[in-house]
C-alpha cells in the first residue's frame, strides 16, 4: 500500500539536517521504499510503499519513528518529536456531563472502544496548515471536526470517526454484527445493502455507522453541529476485510483496520484529536471517557539466539550492536552471552512474533549492503531435471527446421472452446474472468495457433509456427490434467509436409512413429488426418485443419497442424540404437513401378514386399507416388526402390531376379497390381 507523505509534515517530528533525498535513500535501503519524490510548491512529497505487515508505519509519525532509527544506523543526527496532545487530560471540562450508553454485543468484534463527547463546537474550515496537509495527501478538507479525524488517521495511523451527538437517538450506541438484509446510507450518500457479519452501530432506532469503513449519513457532523462524539476504535480485522470484499468498497480507514491497529495507540489518538478540537473548534470535554478494553494487549518477549542471528547474516555482529538496533526501533531488550531477549513495542506486537522477525529488523537496519555476498557452499543435490529441459532442446530443433515459436494465452474465450467441441463441464472454467476473451483454460493449443496463422496470413502464404504449453482438462474432484503439448501449424502446406515434420521430430527424439486412422476430432478433416502412435500408445494427432476452423478464421490458404502430448512422449523409452556391421559388399538396387488401387496403402505394400524379399531385400523405399486419370479410375502409380544385399558377397543377378519375380507375382496376386515395365 502506498502513502503520500509531505516532507514538511514528516520533518515536524523528525528533526534532522539530512537532505530529503538522502532520507529517502536511507529509508528505501533499510525500511519502507520511497518510490517517487514529487515537488509540491515549496514542499516535497514522498510516495512511500509501506508493506502490509507494517500498519504502524502507514502514518507520518510512524515513518518519522522509522526514519529516526534508520538515520541513526547511518550515523546521521536526528531527533524524534512526539505530536502534541497525545497525553491530553480526558477529564470533563464542563460541570455537566452528557450521557453515552455503549453496549458491545460481542467483544471479539471490537478489542478496544473509546469515545468522548465534546460540546461548544464551532464548525468552520480547518486552519490552512491542516487543510493543505490533507490535500497534499489526497484527502479533501471538509470542516474542522471532520478534518481532525482524517488528520489523526494520516498522522498516527489510527482511523477515527466523529458523530453529531444530537443525532444519536437516546444517546445509545449498540455495536453488533449485521443481520440479513440490513441497509445503511453511508456518508458518501450511497445506500448500501450490508452482508451478514458486518460490524455496525445502532442507536436507539437505526444504524448509524458501518464500523471501520464509513459512518452513516444520518449521524454525520454538519455545519450546524454543536456537540460531537469523538470516537476511536479497533475492530476485528477479518470482519472488516470480509465486509469490504463483500461490498467491493474499501476506504482509507478500512485499509488500516483490516491490518490491525496498535491498541495502546488508541487513547493517545483520542487525546490528540481532543487537543486539536480544542485548538481549532473551541471544544470542551462534556462527558466521561468511555474506554472498553476487556483484554489489554500483552507484551510478548522473543528470545533470539546469537548463533542463529549470525548464521542468517553470514557474519558475526556484536550483541551490543544488535541490541542497540532493536532499542532504536522501540524494543526493550535484555541479553545473555548467547541470546538477546527483545519485547516489541505495542505497535509491533502483531508483526514481530518469532526469532526470524528480530533477525529481519537487525539485518535491515544494519544494512543488507553490509552483509557478505558469497556462493552457497554445501552438497549439490542429486536431482533429475523435469522434462522441461528436454523441451528446450526440442524447441531448438524445431527452430532449426524453420519454425517460429509463438506464445499465446492459455486462457481462451467461450467461442474458442466451442470450436474444440469440448463440453463446458469438462473444461477448466474461471470463476472470476477478467474479460470474455479469457474464460476457459484451453484443452488444446491448436485453436490459438489457427488464430495466429489468421493474424499473420497477409504477410506470406507459408507460415510455420509452433508452441509448447500445458493444456487443461477437468478431473472430478482432483487437480485438472495438465499435460504439456507441442503444437505445430503450417499454412499453405500439405498433409505430407506436416507428417514429415512429425516424423522428423520423433526421429530427433529417437522414437519410432506409427500413423493410424484418426479418431473423431472436430479440428481436423477426417480423411486428411491421422493419429500418431509410438508402439501402442497414442501420442498425438496430425492433419489438415477442419473446414470449420478454416472458415471461422477465414484462412486464405489451407493449413495443416499437429499436436503431440509431450508428457506422454517423454515417458516413453527411446529406441536403443544397436550396432550393425557396415556391409562389405555393394548392394544391387532396383526399382519396381506398379499401378495399384488407390485404397491400397503404401504401408501394406512395403510390409508385404519386405516379407517377400526377406532375407535378400534389406530396404524398401517409396520413391514416387502419383495419380493420373490415364492410369485408370481410382488408380495410383507407386515406385518402390529395393536394396538387395548380402553380407558375404554382392548378390548374383539370378538371385535378384528370383526374388524380384516372387515379389512381382505376389504384388499382382495380393493387390491386383499392374507392373509397369
Amino acid at each position: 500500500m502506498n502513502m503520500r507523505v509531505p516532507v514538511s509534515w514528516l520533518r515536524e517530528y523528525l528533526k534532522t539536517d539530512v537532505a530529503a533525498k538522502t532520507i529517502a535513500q536511507y529509508l528505501t535501503t533499510s525500511g519502507p521504499s520511497v518510490e517517487r519524490i514529487e515537488k509540491d510548491g515549496q514542499d516535497l512529497i514522498f510516495d512511500i510503499e509501506v508493506t502490509t505487515n507494517r500498519p504502524d508505519a502507514f502514518s507520518i509519525y510512524g515513518l518519522a519513528r522509522e526514519a529516526h532509527a534508520i538515520l541513526k544506523s547511518y550515523s546521521q543526527k536526528s531527533q524524534l518529536l512526539t505530536p502534541k496532545g497525545l497525553q491530553t487530560n480526558l477529564r470533563p471540562d464542563t460541570n455537566y456531563q452528557l450521557p453515552v450508553e455503549v453496549i458491545i454485543k460481542d467483544k471479539n468484534l471490537c478489542p478496544r472502544f473509546t469515545a468522548i463527547v465534546i460540546d461548544n463546537v464551532k464548525i468552520k474550515p480547518s486552519p490552512a496548515i491542516i487543510k493543505n496537509r490533507l490535500e497534499k495527501c489526497g484527502i479533501r478538507a471538509i470542516n474542522n471536526i471532520v478534518d481532525i479525524a482524517n488528520y489523526v488517521m494520516i498522522e498516527l495511523g489510527q482511523p477515527m470517526h466523529t458523530f453529531d451527538y444530537d443525532k444519536i437517538k437516546r444517546a445509545r450506541m449498540v455495536l453488533r454484527e449485521t443481520k440479513a438484509g440490513e441497509k445503511i446510507k453511508t456518508l458518501d450518500g450511497k445506500l448500501r445493502k450490508l452482508p451478514n457479519g458486518a460490524i455496525v452501530i445502532e442507536d436507539g432506532e437505526r444504524l448509524i455507522d458501518l464500523c471501520g469503513i464509513m459512518g452513516g449519513k444520518n449521524s454525520a457532523v454538519s455545519s450546524r453541529t454543536k456537540r460531537v462524539v469523538m470516537f476511536v476504535q479497533s475492530y476485528n480485522p477479518t470482519k472488516i476485510r470480509k465486509t469490504t470484499q463483500a461490498l467491493a468498497f474499501r476506504t482509507e480507514a478500512a485499509a488500516r483496520f483490516e491490518k490491525g491497529v496498535d491498541l495502546e495507540g488508541i487513547l493517545p489518538a483520542l487525546g490528540r484529536s481532543i487537543f486539536l478540537a480544542k485548538l481549532t473548534a473551541g471544544a470542551k470535554i462534556a462527558s466521561e471517557l468511555v474506554d472498553i478494553y476487556p483484554s489489554p494487549q500483552k507484551k510478548k518477549p522473543i528470545t533470539l539466539s546469537l548463533e542463529k542471528l549470525n548464521k542468517y547474516l553470514g557474519l558475526t555482529i556484536p550483541s551490543s550492536k544488535a541490541q542497540s538496533i532493536l532499542t532504536s526501533l522501540g524494543f526493550a531488550t535484555t541479553s545473555t552471552a548467547q541470546t538477546i531477549t527483545a519485547t516489541p513495542p505495542s505497535w509491533r506486537t502483531t508483526d514481530c512474533q518469532i526469532e526470524e522477525d528480530l533477525i529481519e529488523e537487525i539485518a535491515r537496519i544494519y544494512g543488507y549492503h553490509n552483509l557478505p555476498s558469497k556462493l552457497p557452499k554445501g552438497q549439490i543435490p542429486d536431482r533429475e531435471d523435469s522434462i522441461l529441459t528436454r523441451v528446450i532442446e526440442l524447441k531448438k530443433s524445431l527452430k532449426f527446421q524453420g519454425l517460429t515459436e509463438i506464445l499465446t494465452y492459455s486462457i481462451i474465450s467461450r467461442k474458442f472452446l466451442e470450436l474444440t467441441e469440448t463440453a463446458e463441464k469438462d473444461a477448466v472454467e474461471l470463476a472470476n474472468p477478467l474479460t470474455e476473451q479469457w474464460q476457459f483454460m484451453r484443452p488444446t493449443l491448436l485453436v490459438s495457433l489457427a488464430d495466429v496463422i489468421a493474424k499473420n496470413q497477409n504477410l506470406r502464404p507459408n507460415i510455420k509456427i509452433f508452441e509448447v504449453a500445458k493444456t487443461y482438462e477437468q478431473v472430478e474432484s482432483d487437480l485438472p490434467k495438465q499435460d504439456l503439448k507441442l503444437s505445430v501449424a503450417l499454412s499453405g502446406a500439405s498433409f505430407y509436409d506436416i507428417k514429415g515434420l512429425v516424423e522428423n521430430v520423433l526421429e530427433i527424439l529417437n522414437l519410432e512413429a506409427k500413423f493410424e486412422k484418426p479418431k473423431q476430432n472436430p479440428l481436423f478433416v477426417k480423411e486428411f488426418s491421422a493419429q500418431i502412435k509410438v508402439g501402442d500408445i497414442e501420442v498425438g494427432v496430425l492433419g489438415l485443419l477442419s473446414h470449420k476452423i478454416r472458415g471461422y478464421f477465414d484462412f486464405k490458404y489451407p493449413a495443416v497442424a499437429a499436436e503431440i502430448n509431450l508428457t506422454t512422449l517423454f515417458q516413453l523409452p527411446a529406441t536403443r540404437k544397436t550396432y550393425k556391421p557396415v556391409p562389405k559388399y555393394p548392394p544391387v538396387i532396383e526399382d519396381i513401378s506398379a499401378i495399384f488401387d488407390q485404397k491400397t496403402t503404401v504401408a501394406e505394400i512395403t510390409s508385404s514386399v519386405k516379407k517377400l524379399g526377406d532375407p535378400l531385400v534389406k530396404q524398401v523405399e517409396i520413391i514416387d507416388i502419383y495419380q493420373d486419370p490415364k492410369l485408370g479410375k481410382n488408380k495410383k502409380s507407386v515406385t518402390l526402390r529395393l536394396t538387395y544385399q548380402k553380407p558375404t558377397e554382392t548378390p548374383l543377378q539370378e538371385e535378384v531376379t528370383r526374388f524380384k519375380n516372387i515379389i512381382i507375382r505376389e504384388l499382382e496376386r495380393l493387390f491386383k497390381a499392374q507392373i509397369r515395365k
Binding site: 519502507p32 526470524e356 554445501g378 527452430k399 527446421q401 515459436e405 474461471l430 470463476a431 483454460m441
Partner: protein
C-alpha cells in the same frame, strides 16, 4: 632418362600449359593419353628399345606419366576456379536452409536455466492450476488475509476439497515450494521452477499471463549472504558484469526476512536517469523461507534454513531489451517474433 622421353615430357607440359579452357584440356588429354597420344606412342616404342634397357625405359615412362597427370590435374583445378569465379556474385544470397525463431521468453528461460544449472539447481515443473492450499495456505497466507490482495488471483469454478481448498490459477510459482519439499523430503534442495502464471491485470507492464521463475535452496547454514551471492552470480551473467544488485526490505508472508531485489539500471548503471529515476530497477522478490513454510513441508526448521526468490521473465526481458510494452510479447506478430 633418354632424350625421347624428356622431349615427350616437355611437349606434354607445354601443351597443358597452353590450354585455356576445360574443353581444350580434354582435347589435350586425348592428345597425350589417347590411342595415338603422345604417351601411348612412347609406350609403344618400347619394342624398339634394347631388351636390357627396357625396364629402365618403362620406369621412366611411368615417372613422366605421373608428372603429366599431376600437371593436368593442377591445370584442371585452376581452370575450374577461373570458370566459376567469372560467374559468381558473392553478394548474391546463398542457398540457405530456412531457420526459424525462438520466442524471447524461451530464450530467456534457456539462459536462466543454464546459469542456475552451473550452481547445481535442477529445473522442476509444478501445476499451473493448483489448490489454494499450495498457492496460499502452505505459504503462511491464511484465508481472508489481506496479503492475498497482492495477487490478483483468477479462481477456477470448482468444488472445494477438504484441506486443499478450491482451485486457482497460480499467480506465482511459489506453489512449487512446499510441493518440492514434499517430493524431496531430505535437503539439500536446489531447484528452479519456471511456469506460466496468471493475474487479473493488463497494462503496459502486465499481461494476464506471464512467466515466473522461482528458485529455492534448502540446506544447513544457508544465509542471506548465500542469497546475495547467488543473485550476483546470476545478474552478472544474465545482465552483464557491470550491473549490480541490492536487497531492499520488503514483506512476504512466506519469507522472513523478505526482500525486493533491485538491479542497477542498464542505461545509467545506477547513477539515476530518466528511465529508472533513482538508478535502480525492481527485479523481483526474495527472502529466507519462513520457518512455518519449512515446517509445513516437513523440513526441520531448526536444522535447515533456506532462501527462495521469484520474478517475472517478461520483466527481465523488458529490462534487457528496449521493449517498453510487454504485451508485445503475446501479440504473436511474426514481424516481431522474427526479429529475435
Amino acid at each position: 632418362m633418354n632424350l625421347q622421353i624428356k622431349k615427350a615430357l616437355e611437349k606434354a607440359k607445354a601443351k597443358i600449359e597452353s590450354t585455356k579452357t576445360v574443353k581444350e584440356l580434354e582435347q589435350t588429354y586425348v592428345e597425350i593419353f589417347g590411342k595415338n597420344g603422345l604417351l601411348t606412342q612412347l609406350t609403344k616404342s618400347i619394342k624398339d628399345i634394347k631388351p636390357k634397357d627396357r625396364a629402365k625405359f618403362g620406369q621412366s615412362v611411368n615417372a613422366i606419366k605421373k608428372e603429366i597427370e599431376a600437371a593436368l590435374a593442377k591445370k584442371r583445378s585452376s581452370l575450374d576456379v577461373l570458370r566459376s569465379a567469372a560467374l559468381i556474385d558473392i553478394t548474391a544470397p546463398g542457398k540457405k536452409q530456412q531457420i526459424g525463431h525462438l520466442h524471447l521468453v524461451s530464450q530467456a528461460i534457456e539462459e536462466i536455466v543454464d546459469i542456475f544449472k552451473k550452481l547445481g539447481f535442477s529445473l522442476q515443473s509444478y501445476p499451473e492450476v493448483d489448490w489454494d492450499w499450495y498457492v496460499f495456505e502452505s505459504l503462511n497466507i491464511p484465508k481472508d488475509h489481506p496479503a492475498r490482495d497482492e495477487w490478483e488471483t483468477f479462481l477456477v469454478k470448482s468444488t472445494a476439497k477438504p484441506h486443499y481448498g478450491s482451485l486457482v490459477l497460480t499467480p506465482h510459482t511459489s506453489n512449487g515450494q512446499v510441493r518440492e519439499m514434499e517430493r524431496v523430503k531430505t535437503p539439500p534442495v536446489r531447484m528452479i521452477n519456471i511456469a506460466r502464471c496468471y493475474r487479473r491485470q493488463i497494462d503496459v507492464s502486465h499481461t494476464p499471463m506471464f512467466h515466473q521463475f522461482e528458485g529455492m535452496l534448502i540446506d544447513k547454514n544457508v544465509s542471506i549472504g548465500d542469497l546475495k551471492g547467488t543473485f550476483d552470480y546470476f545478474t552478472s551473467r544474465f545482465f552483464g558484469p557491470k550491473r549490480v544488485t541490492r536487497l531492499r526490505p520488503h514483506h512476504f508472508r512466506f519469507t522472513e526476512p523478505s526482500f525486493e531485489v533491485d538491479i542497477t539500471c542498464g542505461v545509467c548503471l545506477g547513477h539515476g536517469c530518466r528511465i529508472c529515476k533513482a538508478g535502480w530497477l525492481e527485479l523481483g522478490g526474495a527472502g529466507m523461507v519462513h520457518p512455518k513454510v519449512l515446517e509445513t513441508g516437513k523440513i526441520d526448521s531448526k536444522r535447515y534454513t533456506a532462501f527462495a526468490f521469484g520474478w517475472g521473465i517478461e520483466r527481465t526481458i523488458a529490462m534487457k531489451t528496449d521493449i517498453g510494452d510487454i504485451r508485445l510479447l503475446y501479440q504473436n506478430d511474426l514481424r516481431f517474433l522474427e526479429q529475435f
